[in-house]
């Protein structure tokens, strides 16, 4: 019924065209399946949960140049001013903004330095007892800092003695016991864990441990620092536009920069990955289109070359559907072989990428999905020209050219 044998013989008479199509389909499958996998990887990175209500928070950086005030006292005044602004839910000083790509990190250990012991790379923020509320973080256990535990100073000898850490860090440092109430060490500074945050991301989402975060109630800003402000999402734009003036009204010998929402900070940190994702999407879309056009064009040509034969077949009694199915089967045969080669090529390419770059192994589901898609796409590309072929009048056969 499907006339595979005659189609195969006909194909053998124009091998090159078929081979080229086959090659195109193979390379397309290899590229698309690998690119789709990278895209999926990027999408899940870009859309990850950070633990913060990003659209309700904004931050800005303050650089003080006046020397007639002391910065830690000025920053305290600023904090209360910010909290008093209409629309502001809470505000806090913080040494660096989460998700922004700049921050501090160090090893937190269960023993004081230089004693060796279990330790974990941790990003830490110096902030105060308003940080939890401002950042919208939820405690899994324990409590927030007390007012009395927050150290506000310009004396480097003074140190904080408590901390709140994320569950991820707690699990790493104290795998078998409850971390609450235990002591961790930042160098030789002992910090008692008073609270455990369910989930929070540090400054670097690409870090090896983006979830290991600690808050330390210590404000010693020197000449610059960051503020985070939580507000209603609808009022944020209005507040960010007036915040510079409000801050300068409070004290004007300073510069206010990088006023931006937490989501904007995250976007700019991720911009390169967003770009890669977009470029890959454009690449594979165009690639599939080009391959489809190639199949379309080649079928069109084959049909015009075989006009007379088709007319003859029709005159001899072939139905229109037989003509259409002839071209579909022909294409399916080429496509099938191309896809087999393509799957092998995809695996090889995936392996190559894995060897040279930090990309995980390509799951076979991506190859299978791509193969099915390419197959359907090729059938669609053939269908139009094949219908046209079916409409060739049988009378053609009776004419000479």
């Amino acid at each position: 019924m499907l006339e595979i044998k005659p189609i195969f013989h006909a194909l053998c008479r124009s091998k090159i065209g078929a081979l080229l199509l086959l090659l195109q389909i193979a390379i397309t499958t290899a590229i698309v399946s690998n690119a789709a996998f990278i895209i999926e990887d990027k999408v899940s990175y870009l859309s990850q949960e950070t633990g913060y209500p990003e659209d309700e928070i904004f931050s800005f950086h303050v650089m003080l140049f006046g020397d007639d005030v002391s910065s830690h006292q000025q920053f305290e005044l600023d904090e209360s001013m910010l909290r008093g602004l209409p629309g502001v839910i809470d505000a806090a000083y913080i040494s660096n903004t989460p998700l922004s790509g700049s921050g501090s990190s160090s090893d937190f250990s269960i023993n004081p330095a230089p004693e060796p012991g279990l330790s974990a790379r941790t990003s830490y923020f110096f902030t105060d007892n308003h940080a939890l509320n401002t950042l919208g973080l939820e405690l899994a256990a324990g409590r927030n800092f007390n007012e009395s535990e927050v150290i506000v100073t310009d004396n480097n000898e003074q140190r904080a003695d408590v901390t709140i850490i994320t569950q991820a860090l707690a699990d790493e440092l104290f795998p078998d016991t409850d971390a609450l109430g235990k002591t961790v060490y930042l160098g030789d500074i002992a910090l008692k864990i008073v609270g455990i945050i369910k989930k929070a991301k540090g400054p670097w989402l690409k870090d090896s441990r983006p979830d290991s975060v600690a808050l330390i109630p210590y404000i010693n800003p020197n000449i610059s620092g960051n503020f985070i402000v939580r507000t209603d999402a609808s009022q944020r734009a209005q507040l960010t536009s007036t915040i510079e003036d409000e801050m300068l009204k409070n004290y004007d010998k300073r510069v206010i920069v990088t006023i931006r929402g937490l989501d904007e900070a995250k976007e700019s940190y991720m911009a390169q990955d967003t770009l890669m994702m977009r470029m890959l999407i454009v690449l594979i879309t165009i690639l599939v289109l080009v391959t489809a056009l190639g199949i379309f064009g080649l079928t069109l040509f084959n049909i015009s070359k075989r006009t007379k034969q088709i007319g003859t077949r029709r005159a001899l009694g072939a139905r229109k559907s037989a003509i259409i199915s002839y071209f579909l089967v022909e294409n399916a045969m080429i496509c099938g072989v191309g896809l087999i080669l393509g799957c092998i090529a995809a695996l090889l390419l995936g392996q190559l990428l894995m060897q040279h770059f930090s990309i995980a192994a390509l799951p076979t589901s991506y190859i299978a999905g791509t193969a099915i898609m390419v197959f359907v796409m090729s059938l669609l590309a053939v269908f139009g020209p094949a219908r046209r072929a079916a409409n060739i009048s049988p009378s053609i056969a009776t004419r000479t050219i």
Binding site: L20, T28, N34, F65, D188, M276, L293
Partner: protein, 437 residues
């Protein structure tokens, strides 16, 4: 004859407009995609200072005691300690050298029209301008004497001069940086740098700093570091003095070595320096290691071209291969259908060579069209890149090399694709077609 071939090609193009346009479109898209990713790659990889890139070396020392690790592939810290940088700078060796780091200030002037703002600054020894070929619009760099005395002087960029002094010669004027007064002693010409190769710590494609100040001010004014500071062992650093004495790394050090002899001498010197430091209780390790990397090696070592870009370029070339196969198929079909016509031409006396050439001209013409449209598509693509990621704004452009290579790649690709079909068609045996007519 060539003109005649062009005419024939154009006629042939018009005879099968759909298929010909498809071919042009295929090559244009292939070139567009390839050129977009290749342009970005090309800009990232191009040598930022071709005349000197093999003479400027970034110095790394393995300061860590045995058993410690760094994240670089050879385990070396990227920067030096303040101590080592000052020692190396003061040592009596041949060749220019410099210590530097990135800092920043709030800036204001006596004028009320300029609102205070903040800018990053490069704290460096005065060799910077010679070594990295910065030219002056007005004034000059600071003297060795001023460097030693930590003189409050500043060299500003043309752009900053525009903002602060409306572009006029500002040498001798005073600006305030973090509330201290500094005298402007020079204005540098615009420095169009694509890759900020001299300091790759905080983004390779950031703009160069717009102020340059004596490195000795770091110690004198206790200036904060806007770049990276990394420690590798536990140290109790509570004051700025302690930081200067610590084993933390935060200073970049470059040296200019003009020939192999100078380089060898410097290597010997570095070994001797580390051995001497070892006697003082530092560098507690079996094997003393240093590294001198020239500009291009330094960019490669710091992965200036990201993994993503390399993958994209590889995929784009595979994409071009698909387009090539596509065009080859279409050309084959198109040329072979013309076999009867060719048969007649052959019978009338055209040589195989002429037929072959005629078809190659036709293919090259398609390639040329495709290349030109491809450039337009690539510009569109690069525009998209710039829109999506403004950090790439200086990179996502086509320079003249890329503009010229687009049609060349397009035509070469097309001719490659056309060789086989043209050869096939010129083999046509005239007799068959004459008979059937």
């Amino acid at each position: 004859m060539l003109l005649h071939y062009f005419d024939l090609s154009w006629r042939s193009f018009k005879r099968t407009p759909l298929v010909s346009s498809l071919m042009v479109l295929a090559i244009a898209i292939g070139i567009g995609v390839t050129m977009t990713s290749l342009s970005v790659y090309h800009m990232m990889a191009s040598d930022p200072i071709p005349s000197k890139s093999s003479q400027l070396f970034s110095v790394q020392l393995q300061i860590m005691d045995d058993g410690n690790t760094w994240w670089t592939k050879d385990n070396l810290p990227l920067q030096l300690t303040y101590k080592d940088a000052t020692n190396l700078y003061r040592a009596n060796t041949e060749g220019k050298r410099l210590s530097m780091l990135r800092s920043g200030f709030s800036i204001y002037t006596d004028s009320d029209t300029v609102k205070p703002f903040s800018k990053s600054a490069r704290m460096t020894t005065p060799e910077f301008f010679d070594m990295f070929q910065l030219e002056f619009l007005y004034g000059n760099k600071w003297s060795q004497q001023q460097e030693e005395n930590a003189a409050p002087v500043v060299v500003i960029s043309e752009e900053l001069n525009e903002r602060l002094f409306a572009g006029e010669n500002s040498v001798g004027n005073i600006i305030y940086l973090d509330n201290e007064s500094y005298e402007v002693i020079g204005v540098t010409k615009n420095w169009p740098l694509v890759v900020k190769y001299y300091d790759l710590n905080n983004g390779a494609f950031n703009e160069p700093e717009s102020m340059f100040l004596p490195f000795s001010l770091v110690e004198a004014r206790e200036l904060g570091n806007w770049g990276n500071t990394n420690g590798w062992k536990h140290e109790d650093v509570r004051s700025f003095k302690a930081k200067l004495q610590s084993e933390m790394v935060w200073v970049q050090f470059w040296v200019q070595l003009n020939n192999a002899k100078q380089k060898q001498d410097y290597e010997t010197f570095l070994m001797a320096y580390m051995e001497e430091q070892q006697k003082r209780g530092r560098f507690n390790r079996k094997e003393l290691i240093y590294s001198l990397r020239d500009v291009n090696q330094w960019m490669e070592y710091n992965n200036v071209i990201s993994e993503d870009n390399k993958i994209l370029v590889a995929l784009s070339f595979m994409f071009l291969a698909v387009c090539l196969a596509n065009i080859l198929g279409l050309l084959l079909a198109k040329f072979l259908r013309r076999a009867p016509e060719v048969g007649v031409r052959r019978a009338l006396g055209a040589s195989k060579r002429q037929i072959f050439l005629q078809h190659l001209v036709e293919v090259a013409m398609l390639g040329c069209f495709g290349g030109l449209i491809g450039i337009v598509l690539a510009q569109l693509g690069l525009w998209g890149v710039r829109q999506s990621y403004d950090y790439y704004s200086s990179i996502a452009t086509m320079d003249i090399t890329m503009l010229l290579s687009a049609p060349i790649i397009a035509i070469t690709t097309c001719i490659l694709a056309g060789l086989y079909p043209a050869w096939l068609v010129c083999k046509t045996n005239p007799a068959i077609y004459l008979k059937s007519q």
